[in-house]
């Protein structure tokens, strides 16, 4: 009845979960270096996950994890798609506040920057930042790396990435008409953005 080996045992931090030679330490567990035992580091249910079939033969140890009842806020990881609001546009880069990672919103905002060479995939040295983003736009971007101490590095260099929603100077939400232009429904004025391809 328990296929993945889920057990209903609750553990508290400091409890021994096994020997390091028998199990691998997953989330919520750690290996003490001096005696090679695996201890729990969170309070929660202990789960044993069987090793994936493609791991090397010598390392067929199951992984033991402890799941806490509280879900922590999400944190942007390299490779995740995020939604960010552009705060500042400068000559060589734009800074944005990351608001959602995937489908979940974050607990506190993280700062990201989109560099000129990461805005699009073609002709990257001829990019004009002011024709790609404006302050206040909502963009979908990919996290490239943890970046430096100040901000994550983001990239919009794919068709599905870029400005998702923007307000025109007259205050209305604009409609995208091509991959570089958006039009205001009230004044019919066209503004330049790096537009994301949404839908099919």
């Amino acid at each position: 009845m328990e296929e993945a080996g889920r057990e209903k045992e609750v553990v508290t931090p400091g409890e021994v979960l096994g020997k390091a030679s028998d199990v691998r330490a997953g989330r919520g567990a750690y290996v003490a270096p001096h005696n090679n035992l695996v201890y729990a580091s969170l309070t929660g249910f202990r789960r044993i996950v069987s090793p994936p079939p493609d791991s090397p033969d010598q390392d067929q140890r199951p992984t033991v994890e402890v799941t806490h009842h509280k879900a922590h806020g999400v944190i942007p990881e390299p490779g995740s798609v995020v939604l960010a609001r552009v705060t500042k546009v400068m000559a060589k880069m734009a800074s944005a506040d990351i608001m959602c990672v995937g489908p979940k919103s974050v607990r506190e905002k993280f700062t990201g920057i989109i560099r000129q060479q990461d805005v699009r995939a073609t002709e990257i040295d001829k990019v004009d930042m002011h024709l790609s983003f404006r302050a206040g736009d909502i963009v979908r971007a990919l996290v490239l790396s943890l970046g430096d101490a100040r901000a994550y590095y983001l990239s919009t260099a794919q068709n599905e990435l870029g400005v998702v929603s923007a307000e025109s100077t007259s205050g209305a939400t604009m409609v995208p008409i091509s991959w570089t232009e958006m039009q205001c429904p009230l004044t019919a004025q066209i503004e330049h953005r790096k537009v994301a391809k949404v839908g099919g």
Binding site: M99, S105, V106, R107, E108, K109
Partner: protein, 287 residues
């Protein structure tokens, strides 16, 4: 909190306009109030009040002191509010001082009346022991443990509950003291006088969001407010103090309207509080 998005703001304001708030309450309904008295056994009186996620503790300590020369027939009361960093990380160090000061001053204004002591919600002349020489000094200390909006109301309720839980020891003054000498006093450990709290006002805060007012705002709703008026009303329906916060201007007729709404709401609040306090005291007696 990252801040409310435009959609969330519209949702809150639209809901208030339709008399349906985010947690299902009507505009003039309070959150469930939970009162525990005798929380701090070392103090003369204490209470802990929970309104939703807002959690405040109030304690009353009585010490003998000398009345001020301007008012020799009145005791002294000092109200002090401390915002604990457990409520908000930004309250650590001196971060909470500004809010603490604002709350202390607002509470003093609502409960203690003006500089001459006239019109105080608490009857100060009952605190006098020997006129001109000895009086009781009441120190009311409040601590905000957890804040989710509407701190003033919760603090007012906590002070009221703590005062009704307060027992002032009976003092026997030695007969025969004359002139300028300090009379000998004997503080009894056994007998206590219960403080009379029937005239203590409660504070009702009305927050104006859009065109309607709500009572007992959560911190989300408070972030949307244009302005808020806190009115302290006592059992007889008299106004004991008024504080307006927020930058938006209010038409005088709206303020009068808010005052009448507050009076109406305060009736229910006073009754609810009294029954909760009585239940809490009964619980305390049993345990």
């Amino acid at each position: 909190m990252v801040g409310l998005s435009l959609g969330e703001k519209h949702f809150i304001q639209g809901g208030i306009a339709q008399d349906l708030r985010s947690d299902g309450r009507k505009r003039l309904t309070y959150r469930p109030i939970c009162v525990e008295t005798g929380f701090i056994p070392q103090a003369n009186g204490s209470a802990r009040v929970r309104m939703g996620a807002t959690n405040v503790i109030s304690s009353v300590k009585a010490e003998l002191g000398k009345p001020s020369s301007l008012q020799p027939d009145k005791g002294k009361v000092t109200i002090y509010v401390d915002c604990s960093p457990t409520a908000e990380p930004m309250f650590e160090g001196r971060g909470g001082d500004e809010l603490s000061m604002e709350l202390s001053v607002a509470l003093q204004r609502c409960l203690l009346g003006g500089k001459s002591g006239a019109g105080a919600g608490i009857d100060l002349s009952s605190l006098i022991v020997v006129e001109g020489k000895i009086c009781w000094d009441l120190y009311i200390d409040c601590l905000v443990i957890s804040s989710d909006g509407n701190l003033l109301d919760a603090l007012g309720a906590a002070i009221k509950a703590a005062l009704s839980n307060t027992g002032i020891p009976r003092v026997n003054v030695a007969v025969g003291a004359s002139g300028d000498q300090q009379p000998e006093v004997d503080i009894s450990d056994e007998e206590f006088l219960q403080f009379d709290t029937s005239n203590i006002p409660v504070i009702v805060t009305l927050t104006k969001a859009g065109r309607h007012y709500i009572v007992d705002a959560t911190s989300e709703e408070e972030s949307q407010m244009n302005s808020a008026v806190s009115i302290s009303v006592n059992r007889k329906g008299h106004i004991c103090g008024l504080t307006k916060r927020g930058g938006a201007g209010l038409d005088p007729s709206i303020i009068l309207d808010m005052i009448s709404v507050a009076k109406h709401v305060s009736d229910q609040l006073i009754n609810k509080l009294d029954s909760e306090i009585a239940a809490a005291e009964a619980d305390e007696d049993e345990s």
